[in-house]
C-alpha cells in the first residue's frame, strides 16, 4: 500500500473520486429534472410531446453511454464548437454531465412512468373533479405519489449513474478510472492493491447508498 502513502498519488486518487462525486451530483440532478419532464411528456395529452418523450427514451436508452460521451466531446465540442468552460477539465466535466444526464434521464423517465402506473386512476379523477388542470393534477397529485413509489429503483439508477461517470475518463477527465490507470502505469508492481482500493471506494460509498434508498422507500411509501 505504499502507493497511497505518496502524497502525489493520494492526490490523484482523491481528485479522481472528487470528479466522480461532482459528476454524480450534477448528472443525477440533471437526469432527475429531465427524467421527470420526459415522464410528464409521455403521459401528456399532447401527441407531439408524447412522441418526443418516447423518441428520447428509445434513442438514449438503447445507445452505449460511451458513444454519447464521445458525441458530446467530438460532436458538441470539437465540431459544433460548444464550449462550456475555459478550463479544459471543467469543459470536459460539463460535457460529461450533459452526456450522463441525457442518457440517465431515459431510465429515470421510465421509472417515474412505472410509478405513475401504481397510482390508482381514481386519484387523477378526483383531482380533475375538483377542477385541477392537467398540469396541476400531474404535479400536485400524481407525481408526488409516483415518485414515492419508485424511490428504490431511482436509487439503483443513481448507483448505476455513479459508476457510469467513469466513462467521462474517455474524453480526458482525470476521474477515478483514469486515475487508477495512471497509478497502475506508474506502479506496475502494485496492480492488485491499487485496483482493490479503487473498487473498494466505490463499494464503500455505494452499498450504504443502496440501503439508504431502501430505507427512504419504506419511510415515504404512500399508505393506501
Amino acid at each position: 500500500m505504499d502507493v497511497f502513502s505518496d502524497p502525489l498519488n493520494r492526490d490523484v486518487y482523491i481528485t479522481g473520486f472528487l470528479w466522480i462525486l461532482k459528476l454524480t451530483v450534477a448528472g443525477g440532478a440533471g437526469a432527475l429534472v429531465l427524467g421527470v419532464l420526459l415522464a410528464a411528456m409521455r403521459v401528456s395529452p399532447v401527441p407531439v410531446l408524447r412522441g418526443f418523450g418516447t423518441a428520447w427514451v428509445n434513442i438514449f436508452r438503447n445507445t452505449p453511454l460511451t458513444l454519447i460521451i464521445f458525441f458530446c466531446y467530438f460532436g458538441l465540442f470539437s465540431t459544433l464548437g460548444l464550449s462550456l468552460a475555459d478550463d479544459i477539465d471543467l469543459n470536459n466535466f460539463w460535457l460529461g454531465v450533459i452526456g450522463v444526464a441525457v442518457y440517465t434521464a431515459a431510465f429515470v423517465c421510465e421509472a417515474i412512468r412505472s410509478g405513475i402506473n401504481t397510482v390508482p386512476p381514481g386519484q387523477a379523477e378526483a383531482a380533475r373533479a375538483i377542477g385541477m388542470t392537467f398540469l396541476q393534477t400531474l404535479t400536485i397529485v400524481i407525481l408526488p405519489q409516483a415518485g414515492r413509489a419508485v424511490i428504490a429503483p431511482l436509487g439503483s439508477i443513481l448507483i448505476a449513474l455513479c459508476k457510469n461517470t467513469t466513462i467521462v475518463g474517455t474524453i480526458g477527465l482525470m476521474e477515478s478510472s483514469s486515475a487508477m490507470k495512471q497509478l497502475i502505469n506508474e506502479n506496475g508492481d502494485n496492480v492488485i492493491p491499487i485496483f482493490l482500493v479503487f473498487a473498494g471506494t466505490f463499494a464503500i460509498v455505494l452499498i450504504p447508498t443502496g440501503y439508504a434508498f431502501g430505507w427512504l422507500a419504506n419511510r415515504l411509501a404512500v399508505k393506501r
Binding site: 390508482p120 381514481g122 386519484q123 379523477e125 378526483a126 383531482a127 380533475r128 373533479a129 375538483i130 377542477g131 385541477m132 388542470t133 396541476q136 400536485i140 397529485v141 408526488p144 405519489q145 414515492r148 404512500v222 399508505k223 393506501r224
Partner: protein
C-alpha cells in the same frame, strides 16, 4: 327547489365500442332538486352521473350546466368541474395528503383562496361531517365511512352549485352506510342540488324529490319517490323493484 333548471341533458348518447351505454337520455335537474338514479348494474347510471362533469365524454347530444354547454376541455372545463362537487364510490382521497390538506387543496390550488380562510372553512366542514378531530391523519388511517365523509367535505369546500354522488355507499361496510347517508340527507335538506346514483332505496324514499329509473342505457321512468315505489309504470321497473324490495 326552484323551477330554474341547473343541469339539462338533451338526447345524450354514448357508446363504449358497440355497447350503447347512454341511449337518448334526456333529464332536467332543477336548482335545489335531489334526483336519485337507480337501476340494475350496467344500466348506464354511473356513466350518466360522470358525464355531467365530463369525466366521461359523450358522443352525441348536449349537456348544459347553469345555462352553459359543457366545455370540451382545458381551463373552461376545469372551471366547470370546480363548480360541480363529485363523490366517488371508492372515495379517492389523495393518499399522500392529510385529511385537512385533502379538503383545502381545491380552494387553495384551483380557486387560489387565502389559506387562513380556506382552513377555517375546511375545519368547519370537517366538524360538520364529524371528522374535525381527525384532521391531521392520512386517509388510510380512517374507516371507509369516515373517508367518504371527508370526500363529501372535500367536494363541499369548493362551494359547488351541485353535487354528484356516484354510488357513494356501495364500497362501505353495512354499519358505515348510515353515517354517510346522514350527511347526504342533511345536504339535501339544505337545498343542495344533488344527483345521486345509489342502491339505497331508503335514501331515495325519504330524501329524493324525484327518482329516475334507468335500464339498458335508457331513462325508463321518472317520478316522485312515493309514486315510483308504490306504483311503477314500466315492466322493467316493476321487475327491478320486485327483486330488491322482497328481501
Amino acid at each position: 327547489m326552484s323551477d330554474e333548471a341547473l343541469i339539462v341533458l338533451d338526447k345524450v348518447n354514448k357508446w363504449f365500442g358497440p355497447l350503447h351505454v347512454l341511449n337518448d337520455v334526456s333529464l332536467t335537474v332543477a336548482k335545489g332538486e335531489v334526483v336519485v338514479v337507480i337501476g340494475p348494474s350496467g344500466s348506464g347510471k354511473s356513466t350518466l352521473c360522470r358525464s355531467i362533469n365530463r369525466l366521461e365524454p359523450i358522443n352525441d347530444g348536449t349537456i348544459t350546466f347553469d345555462g352553459q354547454a359543457l366545455p370540451a376541455e382545458g381551463r373552461p372545463l376545469a372551471r366547470l368541474r370546480s363548480e360541480v362537487g363529485m363523490v366517488f364510490q371508492s372515495f379517492n382521497l389523495f393518499a399522500h395528503k392529510t385529511i385537512l390538506q385533502n379538503v383545502m387543496l381545491g380552494p387553495l390550488k384551483v380557486r387560489k383562496e387565502k389559506p387562513a380562510v380556506v382552513r377555517d372553512r375546511a375545519m368547519s366542514l370537517l366538524d360538520r361531517v364529524g371528522i374535525g378531530n381527525q384532521a391531521e391523519k392520512y386517509p388510510a388511517q380512517l374507516s371507509g365511512g369516515q373517508q367518504q365523509r371527508v370526500a363529501i367535505a372535500r367536494a363541499l369546500a369548493m362551494q359547488p352549485k351541485a353535487m354528484l354522488f356516484d354510488e357513494p355507499t356501495s364500497a362501505l361496510d353495512p354499519e358505515m352506510v348510515g353515517e354517510v347517508l346522514e350527511v347526504m340527507t342533511s345536504l339535501a335538506k339544505e337545498g343542495m342540488t344533488m344527483v345521486v346514483v345509489t342502491h339505497e332505496m331508503g335514501f331515495a324514499r325519504h330524501a329524493a324529490n324525484r327518482v329516475v329509473f334507468m335500464a339498458d342505457g335508457q331513462l325508463v321512468e321518472s317520478a316522485p319517490p312515493a309514486e315510483f315505489f308504490a306504483n311503477p309504470k314500466s315492466d322493467r321497473a316493476k321487475d327491478f323493484l320486485s327483486k330488491i324490495l322482497t328481501h
